[in-house]
Subunit: 320 residues, 2 copies
């Protein structure tokens, strides 16, 4: 299986073709052009078996997740995706797994109009590194550092589902089959919020994607912007499956600390709040206001209603 030729056999013929790619897979490098007036946006994420996803995860789920976590980073900058490079480490030549993986990657790259422009394969423990690139109009990228006291804090979708899904996979915890299915799908098939990201470009002051858990990720904004925040945990958006399986109190803990949500957290000024809510109505993704930025440097204050909220000590196992 030296050098596999896996990229060639499984990915080359199937990749979506873009006009801004002058030379794709098959030479020493790819050649591409960035449209005038656009900045290039680049992110790299590695997913390793048993670290970022449980052993036994299907090729389809691994492909979906490996691409989605990268696209989620692009979404958090307000970028639209363009190209990816793939480095695939696989322990053995497993035809069925590779077919699964490559077909899913092909479907997704077609769906998002992304071209696979290069890659490498190596024999080793299962691990996938993707470098994803996209564009954002000059000066319109969403960064972490521009939050101002008074800005409102929003999150997309519902929180904590992936963390509970992982718990269901790895413990005896029970859930109704329909809910179980939903929660495990939220773990394995995250949806990068690309359309929300581009919609936020001229409206939000900061944006970040939630990968480690809300409580931990919001700190990146507080640190970069040198601000504090108050979050009202009563407002945290919880799915029906979450509420039915563990109830609200436990749900809040998942929402605050469980990873792998790949929802966006963003801030918006008082003046833009109305325009933002109108713009997001077209995105088909809910966005919930959960708190507000203040001037207390790097301090995150949690409230439930009008009382301080203390997060119970017990943590959740999660991949991230």
């Amino acid at each position: 299986m030296k050098e596999f030729d896996i990229i060639k056999n499984y990915f080359l013929s199937r990749s979506y073709q873009r006009k801004d790619v002058q030379l794709g897979i098959g030479d020493d490098c790819a050649l591409t052009t960035v449209p005038e007036g656009q900045q290039l946006v680049t992110t790299t994420d590695t997913l390793a078996e048993s670290v970022h996803f449980p052993k036994g995860t299907s090729g389809r789920a691994v492909a979906h997740k490996a691409l989605s976590v990268n696209l989620s980073d692009l979404a958090a900058m307000g970028a639209e995706p363009a190209w990816i490079s793939l480095s695939l480490s696989i322990p053995e030549y497993d035809e069925a797994w590779l077919r699964d993986f490559s077909l899913c990657l092909q479907e997704l790259t077609d769906y998002y109009s992304i071209q696979l422009i290069g890659g490498d394969t190596v024999q080793g423990p299962l691990s996938i590194t993707i470098t994803a690139q996209g564009f954002v109009p000059q000066g319109q990228a969403l960064m972490r550092s521009k939050a101002k006291p008074g800005d409102w804090i929003y999150v997309t979708g519902t929180l904590g589902d992936a963390g509970l899904g992982l718990e269901l996979l790895q413990t005896e915890k029970a859930a109704e089959p329909m809910h179980r299915n939903y929660l495990i799908n939220r773990l394995n098939f995250p949806s990068p919020r690309l359309m929300v990201g581009t919609t936020l470009r001229r409206l939000a002051t900061t944006c970040i994607d939630l990968s480690d858990g809300l409580k931990s990720d919001v700190q990146h904004i507080l640190f970069a912007s040198q601000t504090g925040a108050v979050i009202n945990v009563e407002q945290l958006p919880l799915s029906e499956a979450m509420l039915a399986t563990v109830g609200k109190d436990e749900g809040i803990r998942y929402a605050l600390t469980a990873g792998d949500d790949y929802e966006l957290l963003f801030t918006v000024s008082e003046e833009q709040k109305g325009s933002l809510e109108v713009a997001l109505a077209n995105c088909n993704v809910s966005a919930t206001c959960i708190g507000r930025i203040n001037g207390v440097q790097e301090k995150l204050e949690l409230q439930r209603g009008d009382k301080p909220y203390q997060l119970p000590e017990t943590g959740f196992q999660h991949f991230s």
Copy 2:
């Protein structure tokens, strides 16, 4: 060691800063701009321990090699390097190894004026994936597909040294200390031929870097250009260390089949041959004419002097 913070602790403060990088490490993505009139050139290579380098290779050598094999691909397109993303999988937190690795990476990125713009770290078997990007003026990239019958075939430097170096490391084969040192350094510290690459832009018809071995790599050009080639093995450039250690006959076999040379192989038309030799005189790297392209599709003919040359069957172990 969750998420390590290795990128931050070891790489962030030390990275070379470029003007075309508007946002480096520390947000969801990096933001960069490609100069007007330039194409973006992208390559990804993964090096895994025991596959691409022997167990026990120093952090310095691993960093050097991981970066160099990527830069060698950029050189083969005639590109100048700009940015890299790094994904690092390490089995445990080894302070000394990481210091070695990151210091070498810093020295090299400084030397080549490259900025590290992103990355990821994960706990796992030692493996390094780098995505390297650079620029080439619109339409001037060197591809594999433009060789024409009558073009001359050149290689830079000397061939087979890295393969012999690996043999010295892994077997009882003896060499004089000075030669041994030279050959092992050729394995661990390849020199990407970036200046040769940019010099070749308007002169060469094709270019490729030698990673799997001359005999195997030249086929990529024959396949892409739909041509054949005659190579005179008598002309293959062999180092003094190679000749002193194994002699000419054995040296030719290393030069043809051993991998990891990271020299450039390129073709040039009869008309440009003179200009090319003048231009290369400024590059401080030797280039040797070893054969000629012909019209016999995808067939590589080896000669020694005016007789056909038959490569002995015994192969060499090599990493690539």
